[in-house]
């Protein structure tokens, strides 16, 4: 690790004031310390925000929850209000990382974790995300784990988070604070597609700090499923993951939410796929139609063509589990 200076501000304002282009905020550190060991990120200054008062989970006036940015992944997944009102979020968090990492990693930090693309981590290779303009070896190299949707000529990296896939499906709102004050960012607008600036993962300003994540009222607790497909049974990044949430009234789907992980630079949603489910009776044929719409425009690379049919089947299964329960008729064990 390169030398750096260390600062522990006592307030959010002080933290923002200390921020510069060569500094990084640190909280759980599970991703940042690793990237610093690999010399992928070499901050001159670390601003330790772990002592800031951002650890509360509070009810909001409209019946939702406001989650402080420093709430750990484990605390969030096991909070009774989250387990009961937002089981989709609990399931997604518990599908990610390991128990040790979930004890350390924070809610805000989870949003800001970097891709696990091997070329991004390997400072001996070019990477447009690490060094803009240097090239993308993943496009023609080993790209089994990479994006099938929304990628660009410059970058085919995926966002690695499970939690963010659920937050996208739940229409969470990100509260940020910067030198110019506070603002709120809809979850769908927080992360960005790589385009020709893959060095930017999201729309957070350099001086801005994520202070909280807000969840709308819990509409999808009765009918939801987070399905993660990975290379081993636990503790691996997603090849494909699906967050599905439905509300069902008198046998018809009222609201539908569907987000994919492991396939793009951000959690992938498509309004037409969700609209196709509304007002319809849940069935495998309907879910297949939604899956086709969600995967519209998929462009697999040399080694990840398998992700398209895998995602297709995972979407149908996640929606079936959400509609009919984990042991729905026709479910394969």
């Amino acid at each position: 690790m390169n030398p750096f200076s260390y600062h522990k501000p006592a307030s959010v304002n002080e933290a923002i004031h200390l921020a510069s282009l060569s500094s990084r905020f640190i909280a759980g550190g599970t991703n940042l310390v690793d990237l610093m060991k690999e010399n992928v990120i070499r901050p001159e200054r670390l601003i330790d925000i772990s002592g800031l008062p951002l650890r509360a989970i509070e009810a909001t006036a409209n019946g939702g929850l406001r989650i402080g940015a420093l709430v750990s992944n484990a605390e969030l997944a096991w909070d009774p209000r989250v387990e009961q009102g937002y089981p989709l979020l609990s399931q997604a968090i518990l599908a990610g990382a390991s128990p040790q990492l979930r004890n350390m990693a924070t809610t805000g930090g989870n949003l800001l974790q970097r891709t696990r693309c091997a070329y991004f981590y390997d400072t001996g290779t070019p990477c447009n995300k690490r060094q803009p303009g240097s090239g993308c070896p993943a496009r023609t190299g080993l790209n089994r784990m990479h994006a099938i949707l929304g990628a660009s000529a410059a970058c085919v990296a995926t966002h690695p988070s499970d939690m963010c896939v659920a937050l996208a499906a739940l229409d969470a709102v990100v509260h940020v604070q910067g030198a110019r004050g506070e603002r709120q960012i809809a979850f769908a607008d927080f992360h960005r597609l790589p385009g020709d600036a893959p060095e930017r993962d999201n729309h957070l300003g350099d001086d801005e700090l994520v202070v909280a994540i807000e969840l709308p009222p819990p509409d999808f607790a009765a009918h939801c499923s987070y399905l993660k497909i990975r290379d081993r049974a636990s503790y691996a990044f997603a090849l494909v993951s699906v967050a599905a949430g439905l509300t069902i009234k008198k046998g018809l789907i009222e609201q539908a939410r569907l987000a994919l992980g492991g396939v793009a630079h951000k959690p992938w949603r498509e309004a037409t796929a969700e609209q196709a489910l509304q007002g319809q009776a849940p069935s495998e044929a309907l879910f297949t139609q939604a899956a086709d719409l969600l995967l519209q425009g998929a462009r697999p690379l040399n080694h990840n063509g398998f992700k398209v049919p895998l995602a297709q089947r995972a979407i149908v299964r996640a929606l079936s589990e959400a509609a009919f329960g984990k042991t729905y008729p026709g479910a394969t064990p």
């Binding site: 750096f4 200076s5 310390v33 690793d34 060991k37």
Partner: protein, 168 residues
């Protein structure tokens, strides 16, 4: 952008409780908790495996919760209560989890064992493992290259109720 100066990158004083003892230390900001334990404090029970948070060999308990010492900066441990494998036994009396690992021969080379045991103690305190399947899932942050997994699960399964009785 502010220039990086040597006086910026200085040692910081921290105070923490380590295996029941209050300690005051000076640490450089880039020293990990794992390196502090092994290199500065001669507590080599905590092992360095991957050094990237992927293997769990460095697992210690921070404020009762299991964490990866390799991804923890020591300077961020000011005020923390830390327990390593060296701090689990009560004198000559082994912790129930340590005894269960011996009873079930839950290791071969032993390199991952301190991390496995600290992780299992953290798992017990979390109180979420109610089946062998849940133990397997919740021990997934600890790799054992010898493949002693079935005996590790058996050891954890045996020690969980013993820890509850002992109130640990």
């Amino acid at each position: 952008m502010r220039a990086h100066t040597p006086e910026d990158a200085q040692a910081h004083p921290i105070s923490l409780t380590l295996n029941g003892q209050a300690r005051s230390l000076q640490v450089l900001p880039w020293t990990t908790l794992l390196d502090l334990l092994r290199e500065q404090l001669d507590l080599t029970g905590t092992k360095k495996g991957c050094d990237h948070g992927q293997c769990g060999a460095c697992t210690v308990l921070r404020d009762g919760r299991r964490v990866n010492a390799c991804l923890t900066l020591a300077v961020m441990c000011d005020g923390a209560e830390l327990v390593t494998i060296e701090g689990l036994a009560n004198g000559d009396q082994l912790h129930p989890m340590q005894r269960a690992f011996i009873t079930h021969d839950a290791f071969q080379c032993g390199y991952c064992t301190p991390g496995q045991i600290c992780s299992a103690v953290g798992l017990a305190r979390e109180g979420r493992a109610d089946s062998r399947e849940a133990i397997r899932e919740q021990m997934s942050g600890n790799l054992c290259r010898c493949g002693a997994y079935s005996n590790i699960v058996a050891a954890v399964e045996e020690a969980l109720p013993l820890m509850q009785e002992a109130g640990k």
